[in-house]
């Protein structure tokens, strides 16, 4: 049978090789290196901090946050999970993974929320952004590990950059969705009173979209966690490395320990970020309230109970 490849064989792989090896790498390597600088700085900061703070203090802090934002049950779970991680000897790796995740989520937020807001304001920009996000979400991460290594080298920071590419789409999508879903008459009302675009965003759109944006943040966080093992392939450390090493040596115990650590960390972070988005189910919470609730020393639910009590 005749097939099109008999007539013409496109050397697609060669083209990509030429593009990356002969064009991007020699010409843009300094640029990509420069991109690493802020990521490196933030990562080192978090890593130093989490490694420096004693285990008991970190555990206490997480427990309190879990208690005040979610429930006593999650607080108890947090204590047990973190103590277990420490007792299986994975505390330093867990803290490294935590700082990697916090760094990638931070950069996803810094990039994703503004992009989402801009995309919500312009159908044309969204038409361009959307297929890019689709590609970012569907392309297997192994595919872009190679160019990342060529452009950024190996190590923690390239691992985080791969994580950012993988975890960025949900926060952009949900910021865009949240802003677009703000009721039209509220936008009209804000406009009718003479709001500037910035006032409209800050006073109306963003506070009303915050729940959806928090849901996006939660998804971004979960995707970041799921990348830690893959990031270890290109030199990132932490729990991902533990799993990867276990895989290499057929050390089922080591791999399982690392996996359990990731799962426990994931459960704690997931529940806390979900609760931040859903607080006071009756009405949407403002950004200020969301941030304030992180530091408040009372549980809002317990408070309600007191009011309705005898």
């Amino acid at each position: 049978m005749l097939s099109p490849s008999d007539l013409l064989l496109i050397p697609f792989d060669d083209w990509v090789n030429t593009l990356v090896r002969d064009f991007l790498v020699p010409n843009f390597r300094p640029f990509f290196r420069a991109l690493q600088v802020p990521v490196t700085a933030v990562l080192n900061g978090f890593d130093t901090f989490f490694q420096f703070v004693p285990m008991l203090v970190t555990t206490a802090a997480f427990t309190l946050i879990a208690w005040y934002t979610v429930s006593r049950g999650l607080a108890l779970f947090t204590v047990l999970a973190l103590v277990f991680i420490d007792m299986i000897g994975l505390w330093p790796q867990t803290m490294t993974t935590l700082s990697m995740i916090v760094t990638s989520v931070l950069f996803c937020t810094i990039l994703g929320i503004p992009i989402g807001i801009l995309a919500a304001g312009s159908n044309r920009l969204w038409a361009v952004t959307r297929p890019i996000l689709d590609i970012m979400q569907t392309i297997p991460s192994f595919v872009y590990l190679v160019p990342i290594v060529m452009l950024f080298g190996v190590g923690m920071v390239p691992g985080i950059i791969a994580t950012i590419i993988f975890a960025l789409p949900p926060i952009i999508r949900l910021t865009n969705l949240g802003i677009r879903n703000v009721r039209g008459d509220l936008i009209e009302a804000a406009e009718a009173f003479g709001s500037t675009r910035w006032q409209m965003l800050w006073e109306v759109q963003f506070p009303l979209a915050i729940r959806t944006i928090m849901a996006g943040l939660n998804q971004t966080l979960m995707l970041s966690l799921s990348m830690v093992v893959i990031a270890a392939l290109i030199g990132a450390g932490g729990l991902g490395l533990t799993v990867y090493t276990g895989l290499g040596r057929l050390d089922v115990g080591g791999a399982t320990a690392g996996g359990v650590g990731i799962v426990l960390l994931a459960i704690i972070l997931d529940r806390i970020t979900q609760a931040l988005g859903e607080q006071n189910g009756v009405r949407p919470v403002s950004l200020r309230q969301t941030l304030a609730s992180l530091f408040r020393l009372r549980r809002p639910i317990a408070d309600e109970a007191k009011k309705t009590g005898p």
Binding site: R183, D185, L186, E188, A189, A190, E191, A192, F193, G194, S195, T196, Q199, E203, V204, P207, L208, V282, R283, P284, V285, S286
Partner: protein
């Protein structure tokens, strides 16, 4: 009276090439024809009107008539395709974005059909929104917000959230938010349509009460002709994006411009449109000192069966033809004084009292004295009340005539 808001030949076409549709409109093509041939929707066409300061201008139309589009063009939420909209001297259609923003901040506020309160802000914060946008300090704007809330009787709810209030209360907050910035013009887009009939009635009265104190220039949109007639100093009736009639409530009810308007008018309660002043005749009176002959002569001449009697400037009472002629027959020609048959318990009404409130008074059969500042300024014949209700004014004369003849 000063014109506060003026619209001249305002058009709005929704679509890709509005200028093309505009030309077709000016050539006389219809809205349907343009939609079919070009796919463009004509929202508003050829709208021109003036709103005088401190007046309520009501735009009444069914859904799809373009009334919401029209009101949104007045504060620039929708940009007109053609025409000019002048607030004082500034043209909303062509001014710069900063100028438009300033006009919105200082001069025009809006109240929305579904309240459009910000669910994440407290009632006080909602009311203070316009002030915050202008950059007023927190303490001062809260003070002003509380004053505005007090006007609508909701100061106690300042720190609740909109979700905790009923629909009527929420719209009061919407009204307070509109009033808080002390705008000269208030645009109200079907503000009471989403409310229960009883609450709606209450809100209409409240708006009229507030208007008596505040004297805002109001453009009020509604789909309810009764509401339009109750509130409007002037009313525009809109159909297919075009004004079919503009006039006072009485002009519209008494002389509908076309079948479309007549169809609406047919259903409305005329008793709430016309007032005693509209159906009153010039008072024909007789002095108390005059004799029965004089009174009878006037009544016969005027074809009336009752006559008001004055004592100087003061109303002494009313005499009926029947009483007077009976008394005159019994007493002989000269002996009857008007005071003997005077009915001192006569029905009275103020000039602005609505017809429906006269039904009870009219049933006594006596003409109703229309009083202004204790002086008799007119007389409403009972027949005139019902004739106006039936919409046929010429009935008044014949009815009055027949009865007088029957009495004599």
């Amino acid at each position: 009276m000063k014109v506060k808001l003026r619209a001249r030949d305002v058009y709005k076409v929704f679509g890709e090439t509005p200028q093309d549709a505009l030309e077709r409109l000016k050539r006389g093509e219809s809205k349907e024809q343009i939609l079919e041939e070009t796919g463009q929707v004509v929202g508003v066409q050829e709208a021109s009107f003036d709103v005088e300061e401190a007046h309520i201008f009501v735009v009444m139309g069914l859904s799809g008539s373009g009334k919401s589009t029209l009101v949104r063009m007045l504060n620039g939420l929708i940009k007109p395709t053609a025409g000019e909209i002048l607030v004082d001297e500034d043209d909303i259609a062509t001014c710069s974005p900063e100028q438009l923003r300033n006009i919105r901040r200082e001069k025009i506020a809006m109240v929305f059909q579904h309240f459009a309160l910000f669910p994440h802000k407290t009632i006080a914060e909602n009311v203070a929104y316009g002030l915050k946008i202008k950059g007023m300090g927190a303490a001062e704007r809260r003070k002003k917000a509380l004053v505005a809330l007090d006007q609508v009787g909701l100061a106690a709810w300042a720190d609740n959230y909109p979700g905790e209030l009923s629909g009527g209360m929420q719209q009061r907050v919407g009204l307070a938010r509109g009033l808080a910035t002390d705008p000269q013009i208030l645009l109200m887009d079907e503000p009471f349509s989403a409310l229960d009939p009883l609450i709606r009635r209450e809100m209409q009265e409240e708006l009229l009460g507030l208007q008596k104190k505040l004297h805002k220039t109001i453009v009020f949109i509604t789909h309810d002709l009764n509401e339009a007639l109750i509130l409007g100093d002037r009313i525009a009736i809109m159909k297919d994006g075009r004004f079919v009639q503009v006039g006072t409530a009485q002009e519209i009810v008494a002389n509908p411009a076309d079948d479309y308007v007549s169809a609406f008018v047919a259903d409305i309660d005329r008793g709430r449109v016309f007032t005693a002043g509209h159906v009153a005749n010039e008072p024909e009176t007789v002095q108390l000192s005059a004799g029965a002959d004089e009174a009878l002569r006037i009544m016969e001449e005027m074809n009336r069966n009752a006559l008001y009697v004055l004592d100087g400037e003061k109303i002494a009472g009313v005499v009926t033809y029947q009483d007077l002629s009976t008394a005159a027959r019994d007493n002989g020609d000269s002996g009857t004084a008007l005071a003997d048959v005077l009915i001192a318990d006569y029905p009275t009404a103020a000039r602005q009292v609505q017809l429906y409130e006269l039904y009870g008074l009219a049933s006594s059969g006596l003409p109703i004295a229309v009083i202004d500042d204790k002086r008799l300024v007119g007389v409403v014949e009972p027949e005139a009340v019902f004739a106006q209700l039936s919409g046929e004014e010429q009935l008044i004369e014949t009815a009055g005539g027949t009865e007088t003849r029957a009495a004599s």
